[in-house]
């Protein structure tokens, strides 16, 4: 074991760095081409700032999707959870509005945010219990909680929009701090510890191991069920922070906001090198893929293209990226020619990544 480990981790590191390298191979030419086409408009202060305002929402949701995917699962309830957090904050703020905008009011807002995060955490807990303890496949468990939570929100709000919030919330959404958007600061404040958690702590390693082989992980003495509970709890909390960002940016909340983000979050995570079957993925890869997606989106808006063509481009990039990997594998095989097929060439595994 102790002899095999350095080789194994070395191979793992090679693989992950290869993903980031590939992403950089897309990102750098993209920046050069777009810089040539649009120059200052895209990479001037205004362009960069608009990207910095937009990135955190999708970014937080993609990370919320990434952690379950790393464990071989998926979380379809992230948008509902984000909206739950956004709507409960909106509800608190409009019913018990802080009288002054002083320190007391701000403290009250922090209290509201914590209460909303707690509600969202409950969704994560329910997901976690269903998946880890009752052994419900992640896709189905979160499909159920997604529908139930959204239904609950529609039931309470009747599909109405709640809007008009106090100044501190608007500041989070639209304000800047030394020229840097507050949402971006918030995003970075979440991403850095998360990156450490996933790549450097026992929990993070356990999550990736569960994604590779859950049974082996359990036999090696790791409490896989508690780790999985943490996975869905973390996912819900990240989604909830995305909800706070959404409520602040839109200055309104609704049960159906951001639904198109669900599949895009999966797309961003997969493009960032998170294996849909679990086991592999790095926060830095997801960040790079987010940069690519955001650049394409902002650039096509500046070029006067329809926002929908961005959707098509995102999908096409994902297909091209997968196609590139296959092509490279095929070329490598041809180079080595005589080498027999390895298990890695046979991609067959169940969709939910569970042990068959």
């Amino acid at each position: 074991m102790s002899q095999a480990q350095p080789a194994a981790t070395g191979r793992l590191r090679d693989r992950l760095d290869a993903t980031n390298l590939r992403l950089l191979c897309v990102l750098v030419p993209l920046i050069l081409i777009l810089g040539y086409l649009e120059g200052d408009k895209l990479f001037g202060v205004a362009g960069l700032r608009s990207m910095a305002f937009q990135l955190p929402e999708l970014g937080l949701l993609a990370l919320a999707m990434m952690i379950p995917m790393l464990s071989g699962g998926i979380d379809l309830s992230i948008i509902s959870t984000a909206n739950l957090c956004a709507l409960s904050m909106a509800c608190f703020m409009t019913t018990w509005l802080p009288a002054g905008h002083g320190a007391g009011g701000s403290l009250l807002l922090v209290g509201y945010a914590l209460a909303s995060l707690f509600l969202a955490a409950l969704v994560g807990l329910v997901n976690g219990v269903m998946i880890a303890y009752l052994r419900v496949p992640p896709m189905l468990a979160t499909l159920g909680s997604m529908t139930a939570v959204k239904g609950l929100l529609i039931g309470f709000t009747h599909g109405n929009v709640i809007s008009g919030f106090p100044a501190p919330i608007v500041f989070i959404g639209q304000g800047t701090c030394f020229g840097i958007p507050v949402v971006l600061v918030l995003f970075l404040a979440v991403v850095l510890p998360l990156s450490v958690l996933i790549n450097r702590t026992p929990l993070g390693r356990a999550v990736a191991m569960i994604g590779s082989n859950e049974r082996a992980t359990r036999y090696s003495g790791i409490d896989t069920r508690r780790s999985l509970l943490w996975v869905y709890l973390l996912s819900a909390l990240l989604a909830a922070i995305a909800g706070i960002v959404m409520v602040a940016r839109f200055n309104s909340a609704n049960a159906a906001y951001g639904e198109s983000y669900l599949l895009v979050a999966i797309l961003a995570a997969v493009l960032g090198g998170v294996s849909p079957l679990g086991g592999f993925g790095k926060v830095s890869g997801v960040i790079l893929s987010l940069l690519i997606l955001q650049l394409l989106s902002t650039a096509s808006i500046l070029l006067g293209l329809s926002q929908f063509i961005t959707l098509a481009m995102w999908g096409a990039i994902l297909l091209l990226a997968s196609g590139g990997i296959v092509l490279k594998g095929w070329l490598d095989n041809r180079m080595r020619n005589a080498r027999p097929a390895t298990p890695a060439d046979l991609p067959m595994k169940t969709l939910d990544g569970r042990i068959p």
């Binding site: 269903m130 849909p276 096409a316 297909l319 969709l351």
Partner: protein
């Protein structure tokens, strides 16, 4: 109880049927409108779209795959077929042929990608969904079509009863199509050699390949079938709502997944029945219909659907665990 009957009572379908019958009994007592023919016709027509899609998705899920692009495929097929129908008098056969062909081609495209790209079907179909939907919205600017040809709006119906107020009860286009699709799917899965191959590929793709089944060919077939059914379902939906909106269908994929899953189909492939899927669709349809008839605000219908999904998947998970425990005990002895 006789042995075969007991075994039947333990199937997922039997339990679903019990739940449905219980719900129907409650509704029968609670509201007089539930057991009318008019209500039956309405519920069937309103759920035909979900039903047709679920038949296609069932076949895909049995092979261990999944398709999230069918709603986008349906939107494309619907828009193209009815735009052409508005320009040229092509009639029912023409509209059908166009929608079916577009659906089939887009479905086959999914099949090709699933076969050739080394990634899961979930990812492939999310990507193609974005591509299809993005291109459709770019070309159409998201504009709805409200003016459809008269012959299309009139639909196809066989009136079997006209009551004194002149309200017609008819077996309409929606009901005919959904019945034909379920029958075809049952034939495909249970009465053909290909059906056995579909189950085999889902149960164990490695083994199926070594036995000599062409896994790639089966994948093309199931994704093509799903796409073709999406094309048909799109016409059913357009005829039902009497308009075409490129944004109305996308976002309903997960409703269909839920119906198939409640029907007892395992997402890991290899199992699932047409009867179960019909019961899954029926359960959600009766639940929604019943809540409306009971006067519960329709705002709460999604919440109750969510609870039903959660209940069903937990029940299935516990059942699987029980089977596994029994199997392990048997193996030890």
């Amino acid at each position: 109880m006789p042995e075969p009957f007991k075994r039947l009572a333990q199937t997922h379908e039997a339990r679903l049927l019990l739940v449905i019958l219980a719900m129907a009994a409650i509704l029968l007592v609670a509201t007089p409108e539930f057991a009318t023919l008019q209500n039956l016709v309405d519920v069937l027509s309103a759920n035909a779209f979900i039903g047709i899609m679920s038949a296609g998705l069932l076949v895909v899920i049995i092979t261990g795959g999944i398709d999230l692009s069918f709603a986008a495929t349906a939107s494309v097929a619907q828009y193209a077929a009815l735009t052409i129908a508005n320009r040229a008098g092509i009639g029912w056969p023409g509209v059908f042929a166009i929608a079916l062909a577009i659906g089939l081609v887009l479905g086959l495209l999914n099949g090709v990608f699933v076969n050739s790209l080394r990634t899961s079907a979930l990812i492939v179909t999310i990507a193609t969904m974005n591509v299809f939907y993005g291109i459709l919205l770019t070309l159409t600017h998201g504009a709805d079509i409200f003016a459809l040809p008269d012959w299309f709006n009139a639909g196809i119906e066989f009136v079997f009863h006209t009551d004194e107020q002149g309200a017609k009860l008819a077996v309409n286009f929606q009901i005919i199509t959904v019945c034909v699709v379920f029958a075809l799917t049952w034939l495909l899965l249970k009465r053909t050699n290909i059906g056995r191959q579909i189950y085999a590929v889902g149960g164990n793709p490695e083994a199926a390949q070594r036995v000599g089944f062409r896994v790639g060919g089966i994948n093309l077939l199931v994704y093509g079938y799903m796409g073709a059914l999406a094309g048909v379902a799109s016409l059913v939906q357009a005829q039902f709502v009497q308009s075409v909106s490129p944004t109305a269908l996308v976002g309903r994929e997960l409703d269909v997944v839920a119906a198939v899953v409640i029907g007892g189909t395992s997402l890991s492939g290899g199992s699932g029945t047409v009867l179960g899927t019909i019961l899954g669709v029926t359960l959600i349809a009766i639940l929604k219909n019943g809540l409306i008839l009971l006067g519960v605000s329709s705002y709460w219908s999604m919440f109750s659907t969510g609870l039903v999904i959660i209940g069903a998947v937990i029940m299935m998970a516990l059942e699987t665990r029980k089977h596994r425990v029994v199997a392990e005990k048997g193996g030890a002895a």
